[in-house]
């Protein structure tokens, strides 16, 4: 009896394990290794293919490539910080300030834009902001502007767009951690005479750290890997690194160069996440839960 039960348990293990293994191995591990392998392949002047560092050499020798790379990284960190600054008070309001009657409603309504495709949200901003857009029509008709101004295709608009499309991925984990925070902590600090800023600095932010980290990681990854928002709102000046990958893969059909760029992006994202976890002394397991 006991033995047969054990055997069925082992059997069930394989029923769970094999599909999951196939998924992770065939669609994640092997493709990433192939990406790495392809990035070291290339053809020379005589059309012979072989192992080469040319794809990486091209990255470091062409300023346009590595400047775009650095710019994308710096902007992604910047966007993540702005998102955090906006999301903290919003999540706090929903979980701790708003009356209980409307918290449920606010939580539903805050999630709705999160489900709408990124493309449609960006499109909404485009018809609001472009030269013939709604905002320009409004401002010229009430006389603030004499002639319509092109508000799209600059860095500020692009950053705003990136903040907009990724913000909810910060708010949701923040609401998650703040919901479980005991109000008594804040009440006690208040009774002991702590100022609001002190309460934020010494109680709310340290308590929310796991949520802040998981939200920041997701937002950072989404911004770094974003293609639609920089492309449509930043226009030709956006210089986003995913666009370089897209150009190599689809326009120039240079898959080896594209693979090298892809691998650089993967390296950069892993490195920054690792650094962020190290600096804040968080364990990845507590962050992903």
């Amino acid at each position: 009896m006991m033995i047969s039960k054990l055997r069925t348990i082992r059997w069930s293990f394989f029923v769970f394990f094999i599909p999951v293994f196939l998924w992770l191995f065939l669609l994640i591990v092997l493709p990433q290794l192939e990406l790495l392998r392809m990035s070291f392949l290339g053809t020379d002047y005589y059309g012979e293919s072989g192992v080469t560092f040319d794809n990486y050499w091209a990255f470091f020798s062409e300023p346009i490539y590595w400047l775009t790379f650095v710019r994308t990284a710096v902007y992604s960190i910047f966007v993540t910080l702005i998102v955090l600054l906006i999301a903290l008070p919003v999540a706090f309001y929903i979980t701790k300030v708003a009356s209980f009657k409307i918290t449920g409603f606010l939580m539903v309504i805050i999630l709705v834009p999160f489900w709408v495709s990124e493309l449609i949200r960006v499109y909404g901003w485009m018809i609001l902001l472009r030269e013939s857009g709604v905002l320009n029509h409004f401002l010229t008709s009430i006389g603030i502007l004499k002639v319509p101004v092109e508000m799209l295709y600059n860095d500020i608009t692009m950053i705003m767009g990136l903040v907009y499309t990724t913000m909810l991925f910060m708010i949701v984990p923040l609401i998650g951690v703040m919901e479980s925070m005991d109000d008594a902590l804040i009440e006690a600090a208040h009774d002991l005479g702590a100022k609001k800023l002190t309460i934020w600095r010494t109680i709310i932010i340290p308590y929310s750290m796991p949520g802040i980290m998981s939200g920041s990681i997701i937002v950072f990854m989404l911004v770094l890997g974003s293609y639609l928002t920089p492309n449509l709102m930043g226009g030709k000046n956006s210089l986003w690194f995913t666009e370089q990958i897209y150009n190599q893969m689809i326009i120039y059909f240079n898959w080896n160069q594209g693979a090298a760029f892809g691998f650089m992006l993967l390296l950069l994202s892993s490195l920054i996440i690792w650094l962020a976890l190290k600096l804040t002394k968080q364990d990845w397991r507590s962050v992903i839960k």
Partner: protein, 288 residues
Amino acid sequence: MIRTLPNSKAYSAAFNGFIILYFTFLFAPLIVTMVLAFNDSMFPSLPWKGFTLDWFFGEGPEKIGIFHDRSNLRSIAVSFRVAFAVSTLATIFGTLAAFLFEQENFRFKNFFYFLMIAPIVIPGVILGISILLFANTVGLFFENQLGMDIGILRPGFWLVVLGQFSFITTIVTLVIIARLRKFDRTLEEAAYNLGANRFEVIWHITLKYLRPSIIGGFAVAFLMSFENFNTTIFLVSSEATLPINLYLQVRDGSTPVINSISFLLILATSIIAVINLYVGRRKNKRAT
């Protein structure tokens, strides 16, 4: 500061003002998009030229509404098929993965858990190109070594499905794990004592308990697949999904037919999201 503490008037007013501004920021683009779907104009912009339903039902030749727009209707159909395939597969694999990580113990479990999480921190663009390269290499191998031509490995429907499946399954797994974690395993032990085997227990007890999260995971997977662009763009053939098709129109400028598509999508996704949320919440309340 919080509900139970006294607040100064100025502080409350400032905070409320901030939240109102935030929600305006959140909804302005969506509302403008939806409203302009009904503007009787050839361009998705103001001035308001009167109310029309032409961008939904117009038969042309000047205004072709969404219900007569062949190319967009076709891409909507493709997106539905992709999303259905992806969410079905992702739900099955996600459920298996949830059982694997919650109920089994094995060597390198942490390592596999880390691998399972990885797809959400790998940018979608990279998933797209790596799967494209890998499928291409494997396809070439089969063709050169074995003389077999495998259509699935070329850009097209199934490669898009595989690409989206690779990271959406992680999301479904996390959704189901969250509920499985709250499961009271004494229920399983009771069933074992009554003579059930492992699969009977899973089928009659654990899966019944997991049903809300399985349905929720399916809905999340469906929506994520339906709106995916970054991974899909590298794997798609001439059979474009809706986001790909819309992207080209948005970039090059188009008639307000995009607004009418957006209107329908916003409406549909909001309804699904709200139903999903309320059903999930009710089921949760009953369970606890």
